[in-house]
Every structure is written in structure tokens, then in C-alpha cells.
Amino acid sequence: MWPFLLFACVPRAELVTARAPTPVELVVVTQPAGSRAPTDAPASVYSAIEAVLSARLLTPTRVDSAVFSESFSTRRSTAQRLSWLAARPGDTVLVLVETEVEYYSEMNGRYRWTVSVVASVLPPDRPLEAVEASFEIPVFLSFYHEREDKALEAAVPVLSRRLGELVDTWVAGQTGG
């Protein structure tokens, strides 16, 4: 049994951090089923994403959903949304995380949901340096009454890992390491 405990001591991969604290604007979008208007992600999801950014010396500022909700209801592609965000005043780096949660089926007593994520990092003044990743995260919830928000929260461990890798890619490109 004791060898298993050694897993707790395995060092984590080194993070790629910015040379200096770098402000970023964070937009996390959730697309509810049957509605054109995207909404805010749960606070715990925001917090987890902020932790990912902060660990890399990026200083996130949340963009309130009231700012983008109406515009995003008509701009439904990632490119359209990034373009709209970039057109706003200022040149702060944008981090856009778009999520969509879909019920899959009940499997052996658990409720399987699929969380689809498109994550983008865009410096508005250098669009060619943008990086993007899209991926799907299967999550299993124990109870029928747990819906999209809970599925999104359950996806946080994988979402954080994948987003961290994306941010590392972008930061490494900025710092040359």
C-alpha cells in the first residue's frame, strides 16, 4: 500500500509563467439549451479558471455577462465573438471560454453529460498570436436533478488542466520559453 502513497509526492509539471503580472479580460460563456442568450458560468467555474490564470501571473478581470449577453446571442461563432470583444476599446489580452452542456444518457445509474469547450487566448493587437483549443469533457452526475450548472462544475478538473495547457502555450510564445 505504501508505494501508492508516493504518488502524492510526485512533483507537478512546472507552470509556464509570464515575465511580469499581465492583465487579462476573462469571459466565460455558457450556452443554455433552447436559448439564444448565453449566460454566466457558475461562480465556482469562474474561480477555478481565475486560479489557472493567476498561477501563470496573468491577472484576470471578469467581464460581466450583461456586457456581452445581447451581442453574443447574435454572434454565435467563436471568431465573431472574439472579433466583437477585440473591437472594444483597450488592448488587454482576452481569454474567452465558451461552454456548452448537453445531456447524453443515463448509464448504469449515473447521468452522463458532455461539456463542450472552446477556449481562446487573444491579444487584440496581435491577432495572429491567438491560440485556441476545443475539447469535450464527459462528466457523470449522481442525481437526476443535477443539471447543466452541476455538469459544468464537475468538468472543472479537466477544464482547468486543458485550459492551463493552452495558456502555457500562449505564455511560452510570449516569453520565448
Partner: protein, 497 residues
């Protein structure tokens, strides 16, 4: 080979390009539990003592193909296809050795939404609906239409969910002796805020009288439960009616019906109480069709609808999930009660005429987000209504043959109660963090069971005096080989994807 061919066909079909865009979900558990005292690698007989260490390997893969993808921003028609393959065998982990014949195509259905009625999901194919799971027991007590292929409509609103369906359950209830069993059913679930849910449902089984169909329900006149259990009806009848060319009375056709009702109450999201699920079901089981007796080299089918139409099952189960110290300690407590009655049977111990209850508690301590300690304990009591069903001692058969309460010698053992206590514990690695039901989960566990029954676990011990004399050294006396304690060490992995 008969089972293998469909499996190969299925795998070939699912690997075709048409499935290239399909999503894949599933579940696997695999383990090794070297049993150094002759058991089959399971701590006890069944899930009544908690599913942990009492279940074998299992795999399930479900494919979902969006034929017309559901658009989150649209109320347009959508349709998808689900195909599920599952089975309880993995190479090297059980006696089936992962053979494809152990898998089954358990679900195939097509769903369509926003078809004619917005907000209603139509489903055609295998139907299955349940109110939830008792995770500690891996049981779903409140389920309907699981045995039915047909069509259903489900409405999901903010407060009320409703399901209604109808189909045929004949192939599930009578796989080798098919007769149509029309089966309507439905459920209703009401939600009050985020803290309370109430549900109820019912399903009926209607099997018509079909004269001339040998799989349809009939009853053989004069067949008593004693004859049915002993399988000596034909011999007795021939003895009492010498010279008759047809020795078995002609069975009378009949119709058969049965039903089940289910109940659910869920509440929680209050302080440390994550959720509590209470499930109940009452089932009047569907009658069996026939049994076969051989007499003088001839097989006779004896129809038993009239002898198996009064079997009922009442099940109650509860599971309470508590987050006692967030991110540090979770506790799940479960309880299960079962009452099986068979009004036709007053003479023989049977799984259809017994009652049982158990309680299981599992705690998980999170040493770190990934490394956890697990502890589980269970207590269970099973009681036979028709005499002694279990053997507490190696020589119980001899003791029982002297029992004045059992002149027919239909009892199996020397006890009508089986008590089982289990304790399990060990180390768990959950890469995705805390949570008793978070997966994937890698576990190294130790389990110990005490049972009032001798050898209360799957085993390969000698079963006859010949085997005993052959395999036991002469100096070992029989009472030295009585076992009430069983221990196991297990390496397990469990994953949802």
C-alpha cells in the same frame, strides 16, 4: 459460437464509417482479488452487503450518434441513435475470460425531440426509466419499462417530468419461451425548488390467453406445489393411473397479468446533506410458463402459471450522502429492506419467500485531492419464511434430515437466518479529486466477512463425500474445515468515460 456471431457482427457494424461521428461513453471496472482460501474472488454472495468487493468485473460502452443534431439555440427537430453493449466479463478477471459471448446488446433506441409536440422526447426501441440509483448497493429499485421494447414519450418541464410508454416485454420475461406480454407504464416526477423531489410510477404486464401456443400461459390441473418442487408429478400420476396412454392431464389455457408500482422521494442540498434518495417498489411478479419432467425417457411439459402467480416483492432502499468536512470527509449511509412472498409455496425454502435487510456505511477521507482513505462496514440479516435455507455447519444436512418440522425434507440446511457482517478499507487514488463517487478510481482494498453460514462466498470446495475423501488428508477432520470468516485483498480500477 451462437452468441459470438452476433457480437462479431455488432463490432464490425460499429466500426463502419457511418459511426465515425458518434460519441462514446461507458463504464468499466476491472479487478484482481486473489483468493487464497478457495473462493472465487468475491467477499460475499451479493450486493446486500454493499457492492464493494461483492461485484465482479463489468464493462459497458454506449454509442450516441446525432442523426439530426440537437441545437441548443433552436427548437427544431432533432434525432439521435443510442447503442449500448455491456457485460460482466474481462479477460483474466473472471471465469468468462472476456469472451464476447458474455456481452449483450442491452439497449438500442432512437430518440426524437420537438417532433409534433415541443418539449417532448419520443423514444422508440428499448425503454428504460428509473428514478435513480442506490450507489452503495448498485441497485435501481424504482424503475419501469426496463424490460420493454416499444415507444415512449417523455415531457421534461421545470417542475414536472412525465413519461408514458408501451411495448412488449415478452422476450425479456420469457427469453426462450416467447409469448407477447403487452406492457404499458409511466412515471411522474414533481420537483419543489432544488430541495425536494417526489416521484411515482407503475407498469402492467398483460399476457393474453392463446390456445395452442405452447409458450402461452396454461395451468396443469392437479399439479401441487409439492409436485412442482420435487419434479415427481408425472411419476406419481402414472402410478395412480396405470394403463393410461397419456399420463399427464391436459393443461387449461389461461391469461396472465402482473404489475409493479414504484415510489421515490429525494431531498437535500441542505448544509452537509448532499442528497437523500428513498426508493420503493412493489411488484406482483409475472407467472412462469412451464417446467419439464422426464419419466421413462419421455419429457413432459407441466404448466405452472397457477403455481407462480402469487409471488410478490416489496423493496425499500435509502441512501444518504453527507459532506461532513468539505474536501476532507464524506459519508454515505444506505439501507435496504426486501420482502419476498410466494403465497403458493408453504413448504420449501425459496428466494421467492424470504425477507432481508441490511445497512451499509462508507466514509472517505481525503488526505489530498488525489489520495484518499476508504472505510466501509455493513450488517445484513436474511430470513427464510419456509424453513431452513442455509447451512451453518458442514454436517447440517444430516442434522436437518432428523428435523420433525420438515417431513418432506425440502429444507436445504440447518438455519432459517443468515447474518453477515463485512468490513472493508484501503487506499483510493482519484485523479479527478475528492468524491465518494468520483471516477476514475484506483483502489487497493482489504475486506473481511463474517457470516453465520459456512463458506458464505462463491467457492470450489468439495461437494460430495467422494471428493472429500479424495482431496482431504485423512488426518484433517471435517470440523476443521468449517469457514465463517473470509478475507480478501483487492486491486481495482473503476472508470466512467
Amino acid at each position: 459460437m451462437r452468441k459470438l456471431v452476433p457480437s462479431l457482427f455488432l463490432f464490425a457494424a460499429l466500426s463502419s464509417p457511418a459511426w465515425a461521428g458518434a460519441d462514446v461513453g461507458g463504464y468499466f471496472r476491472v479487478m484482481t482479488r486473489p483468493d487464497l482460501v478457495g473462493g472465487d474472488g468475491k467477499l460475499g454472495y451479493w450486493n446486500l452487503y454493499g457492492r464493494l468487493l461483492n461485484e465482479g468485473p463489468y464493462g459497458a460502452v454506449e454509442l450516441k450518434l446525432d442523426v439530426l443534431e440537437r441545437q441548443p439555440t433552436s427548437r427544431e427537430l432533432w434525432t439521435d441513435l443510442h447503442v449500448k453493449v455491456e457485460g460482466g466479463s474481462i479477460a483474466g478477471a473472471d471465469a468468462g475470460n472476456g469472451g464476447l459471448g458474455n456481452l449483450r446488446l442491452s439497449q438500442v433506441y432512437v430518440q426524437a425531440g420537438n417532433l409534433a409536440i415541443n418539449g417532448v422526447t419520443w423514444r422508440m426501441g428499448t425503454l428504460e426509466s428509473n428514478f435513480g440509483d442506490l450507489g452503495l448497493y448498485d441497485m435501481r429499485l424504482a424503475q419501469v419499462l426496463t424490460d420493454t421494447v416499444g415507444v415512449s414519450a417523455r415531457y421534461e418541464g421545470g417542475v414536472v417530468d412525465a413519461l408514458i410508454g408501451v411495448g412488449d416485454a415478452g422476450y425479456t420475461l420469457r427469453p426462450d419461451r416467447y409469448n407477447s406480454i403487452v406492457s404499458p407504464g409511466g412515471t411522474l416526477r414533481v420537483r419543489a425548488g432544488g430541495h425536494v423531489e417526489l416521484g411515482a410510477g407503475a407498469q402492467a404486464y398483460l399476457e393474453p390467453e392463446v390456445v395452442g401456443n405452447r409458450n402461452a400461459p396454461y395451468t396443469t390441473p392437479g399439479l401441487s406445489y409439492d409436485d412442482y418442487v420435487r419434479r415427481d408429478f408425472v411419476a406419481d400420476y402414472a402410478e395412480e393411473n396405470p394403463g393410461e396412454s397419456t399420463v399427464v392431464p391436459r393443461p387449461g389455457p389461461t391469461s396472465a397479468s402482473s404489475y409493479k408500482g414504484v415510489f421515490y422521494l429525494g431531498f437535500g442540498s441542505l448544509g452537509p446533506l448532499t442528497w437523500n434518495n428513498l426508493f420503493g417498489s412493489y411488484t406482483v411478479r409475472h407467472p412462469d410458463s412451464y417446467v419439464t419432467e422426464s419419466y421413462n425417457g419421455v419429457d413432459y411439459d407441466l404448466y405452472v402459471a397457477g403455481l407462480t402467480d402469487e409471488r410478490t416483492v416489496l423493496l425499500l432502499g435509502d441512501e444518504l450522502q453527507l459532506r461532513l468536512v468539505p474536501e476532507r470527509l464524506d459519508l454515505v449511509v444506505g439501507a435496504l429492506y426486501g420482502l419476498h412472498r410466494d403465497a403458493d409455496n408453504n413448504i420449501a425454502p425459496s428466494d421467492d419467500d424470504r425477507r432481508y435487510w441490511s445497512a451499509v456505511a462508507r466514509a472517505q477521507v481525503y488526505l489530498s485531492p488525489v489520495v484518499h482513505l476508504l472505510g466501509e462496514g455493513s450488517y445484513a440479516e436474511e430470513r427464510s419464511h419456509n424453513g431452513k435455507q442455509w447451512r451453518n455447519h458442514y454436517d447440517s444436512l444430516f442434522a436437518n434430515s432428523q428435523d420433525p418440522d420438515d417431513p418432506l425434507a425440502l429444507q436445504f440446511g440447518d438455519a432459517d437466518v443468515r447474518t453477515t457482517i463485512q468490513g472493508k478499507g484501503g487506499l483510493v487514488l482519484n485523479p479527478l479529486g475528492p468524491g465518494i463517487y468520483t471516477r476514475p478510481s484506483l483502489r487497493i482494498l482489504y475486506g473481511i466477512q463474517w457470516s453465520s453460514q459456512n463458506n458464505a462466498f462463491g467457492n470450489s470446495y468439495v461437494e460430495s463425500l467422494d471428493q472429500y475423501n479424495y482431496l482431504y488428508p485423512a488426518e484433517v477432520s471435517a470440523d476443521e474445515v468449517e469457514r465463517h470468516v473470509h478475507q480478501l485483498v483487492a486491486l481495482e480500477a473503476e472508470v466512467w468515460f
